[in-house]
Symmetry: C2
DNA sequence: GTGAAAGCGCTAACAA
DNA sequence: TTGTTAGCGCTTTCAC
C-alpha cells in the first residue's frame, strides 16, 4: 500500500502565502495577534489550495481532537437494535449530537461500553487513549456509574451525564422527567380523572423515581388518593402487562394509567383490550418517551416526549465550551419535556 | 487548558521491555521478523503498563487510521430521523458496522453528505483530509453518484457501494433484491395467486428495477399475465396509496400486491381497508425492507428483509482487507435477503 | 532479527 | 505581531 500523505499541508499554505507555519496555524485556529491583512492573505491561500487541517496532526501536537465521544450501554443498545422494535434513541442522539458537532467543526463518535463489566475502566482507558476525545457524553445507566464517572474525573476529560442529577462530576443534564410527569397528571385531573394509576420503571434508572415523584406530587396537590395506585415494573412489556392487570383489577378501578415508558403503556393497552375496557372511553393511558411505536398503537398513545436530540445537542455545546475552558451555566441543566396528546386519553367516563 | 499527553507511550513500553521502539511497533502491528521470545516480553510490558496506541499518532506516521467512514444522504437521513417513523436503517448500519469494526480494532464514523449539493467534492475532500479514513461506505443514492465515486477513485481510498452494481470503482454490494422479489412472487404463486400486482419504487434507486425484475421474472416463468399489473410509486405513502387503489380497481382484481417498500405496503393495506377488502382473506400483501413498522401493521406485514447489518458488516470486512492490500472476492457481492412471513399473506381466495 | 534515524502535520513555548 | 525551535507518538526507511 502506498503511504498516503496529506495532499495540501500547512507548509504549502505557508509557502504560498509567504508566511511562517505558525502564522497559518494562528489563522486556522482564529487566534489573536495576527494583523487583519495577514489573516486575509493566509485565508486566501487556504481557500485557493483547498487546505483542510488533519485532525490527527492537530491532536498530536495540540490539545484538541475535535472529537466528542458518546457512550451507550452495550447490551441494551445491541438488544434494542436486534429486537427491531423501532426504538430510535440512538438516532435521536445522532440527530442532536452530529448536527451540533458539525456547527463547531467537531465530529461525534459513537461507542458501546459494558456497564456490568469488571473491565469498564480498562475498556474506557483504551478508548480514551486511542481517540483522546475532547468530551464524553454518558447516557443512562452509565451516567450514574461511579466507575465511569470516577475514571473520567481522574482523567480530567470533560463529560456530560444525561439523565442524572447526582454530584459525580461532569455536567448533569436531565430531561424534565418530574415536571412532565406532573404536567401529564394535572392534565388527566383536568379531564376529570380522580383515580390515576402509575406504573413505575426500574430502580436502575434514576429517572424512574423522578417520573413517579411528578405523578405523586400532582396527586397530592390535588388531594387525590395514591394508595395502591403505584406499581413498579422494569420497563419491559411483560412487567407492564402484570402491573396494568393488577391496577385494572382494583376496585374502584382507576380511570387512567400513566406508564413510565412506551412498552409498558403498550402492555396496558393490551391488558385493557383483554379485559374489554375501552380506551379512551373507559380508560385513559399516557406513556413516557414517545418512541415511534406510540403512533402505531391502536389508539395512538398520548405520550410525554423525551427530548433526546435537544439534550444531546445541549451536551455537545456545553462540552465544547468546557473543553475550551469557558465558564458553564448553573447545574444541573434541565431540558423540558412536552406532552403529546393523541387518542389514548379523554375525559373521565361518566359512570366511573 | 493543560496539554493532554498520552499516559503510556511506546517509549515507556520499549524502556520497560528493554528493546527498541521499533520492536514494540512490530509487536503491536503483528509484523514478522520478531522472535517469539521478544514478542512475549514486549507483550508482557504492554499488558502490564496498559499501553494503548494513539490512533492519531499511528495515522500521522503510518498508512492506517483505523477509521471506516460511513456516508449517508443528508436530507433523507435527517428527514427520517425527524419523522420518527421508526425507520432503523442507520441503527442496522451501526449494528453491523460497529461490531465488525471492533473485531478488527477499527472504529466506524458516521457522516451525512448532501447528494444534490454542487460542493459534494469539496465537502468530501474536507472530510477525507481531516479524518483520512481507511475505507468509505457509500449507501444509496450516493453509491451511484459519479461525483462521489469518481472522487474516491481519484484519491485511491477503498470504498464500498451498497445497493449498487455498476462499474464505478470500489466494491459493489447488493442486498439480494432481485432474488428475493422472485422468491416472494413464487411463494405467492405457490399459494395459488395468479394476478399479482407490483408497486415499483423510485427510479432514483437502482434497486427499484431489480425488485421489479424479480417479480417480472417469476411471473413470466409461471406464464402469468403482467400487463397493467405494475405501477410505479416513489416509496412514499401517498404514491403507494394511489398505486394500490389503481391496482385494486382493476377487473379482475389482483389477489396479491407486492409493494417495493414498507410505507407503500402500509398504504396498500389502508387502501384495502378503505375498499372493504379483507387482508389476507381477499388480498395478500408483501412488502420490502422489513422495517419495524411491519410488525405494528394490522395485520402484521409479510416482508422481504433488507439485510443491512450483514451487508455493512461485509463491507467493513472487505474494506479492511483491501486497505491491507489483500485480494478481494468476485464482484459484485450479493447478500441474500430473506422473506419473513407474517399475517398479511395467505392462500388465494376461492371465489376470486 | 533488531535498532537508529528521519519525518508525518501540526502546535506550544519561546525568541525576535 | 511574527518567526523559530522543539517536540507530540508512531512508523517507515535503512543500517547492522
Amino acid at each position: 500500500m502506498p503511504r498516503r500523505r496529506q495532499a495540501v499541508t500547512i507548509k504549502h499554505v505557508a509557502a504560498d502565502a509567504g508566511v511562517s507555519l505558525q502564522t497559518v496555524s494562528r489563522v486556522i485556529n482564529a487566534e489573536p495577534n495576527v494583523r487583519e491583512e495577514m489573516r486575509e492573505r493566509v485565508q486566501a491561500s487556504i481557500d485557493r489550495l483547498g487546505y483542510i487541517p488533519s485532525i490527527a496532526a492537530q491532536r498530536m501536537s495540540g490539545s484538541r481532537s475535535y472529537l466528542i465521544l458518546a457512550l451507550n450501554d452495550r447490551d441494551r443498545t445491541l438488544e434494542a437494535w436486534r429486537a427491531r422494535q423501532g426504538s430510535d434513541w440512538v438516532d435521536q442522539m445522532l440527530l442532536g449530537g452530529m448536527l451540533k458537532c458539525a456547527e463547531h467543526g467537531y465530529r461525534m463518535l459513537f461507542e458501546l461500553v459494558d456497564t456490568h463489566d469488571d473491565h469498564v475502566e480498562r475498556e474506557l482507558a483504551a478508548t480514551l487513549a486511542s481517540l483522546q476525545p475532547d468530551g464524553v457524553i454518558l447516557t443512562p445507566p452509565h451516567s450514574d456509574n461511579p466507575l465511569i464517572t470516577g475514571f473520567l474525573q481522574s482523567r480530567r476529560v470533560p463529560f456530560a451525564r444525561i439523565g442524572s442529577k447526582g454530584k459525580n462530576g461532569g455536567i448533569p443534564i436531565v430531561m424534565g422527567d418530574e415536571d412532565a410527569a406532573r404536567e401529564a397528571t394535572q392534565r388527566l385531573i383536568a379531564l376529570g380523572h380522580r383515580r390515576i394509576g402509575f406504573i413505575a420503571g426500574s430502580k436502575e434508572y434514576s429517572l424512574s423515581d423522578w417520573r413517579k415523584a411528578g405523578w405523586l406530587g400532582a396527586m397530592k396537590e390535588a388531594g387525590l388518593p395514591v394508595d395502591g395506585l403505584c406499581l413498579r415494573g422494569d420497563f419491559s412489556y411483560d412487567s407492564g402487562l402484570a402491573a396494568a392487570r393488577a391496577l385494572l383489577e382494583l376496585s374502584p378501578r382507576p380511570t387512567a394509567i400513566i406508564a413510565s415508558n412506551d412498552q409498558m403503556a403498550l402492555a396496558a393497552l393490551d391488558a385493557a383490550a383483554q379485559m374489554d375496557i375501552a380506551v379512551p372511553a373507559a380508560l385513559s393511558i399516557v406513556s413516557f418517551d414517545n418512541t415511534p411505536v406510540t403512533t402505531f398503537a391502536n389508539p395512538p398513545l398520548t405520550a410525554i416526549d423525551q427530548p433526546i436530540a435537544e439534550t444531546v445537542s445541549c451536551a455537545v455545546e456545553l462540552l465544547i465550551a468546557e473543553s475550551r475552558g469557558e465558564e458553564l451555566l448553573a447545574r444541573p441543566v434541565n431540558i423540558p419535556a412536552r406532552l403529546i396528546e393523541r387518542a389514548s386519553t379523554g375525559p373521565v367516563p361518566v359512570a366511573g
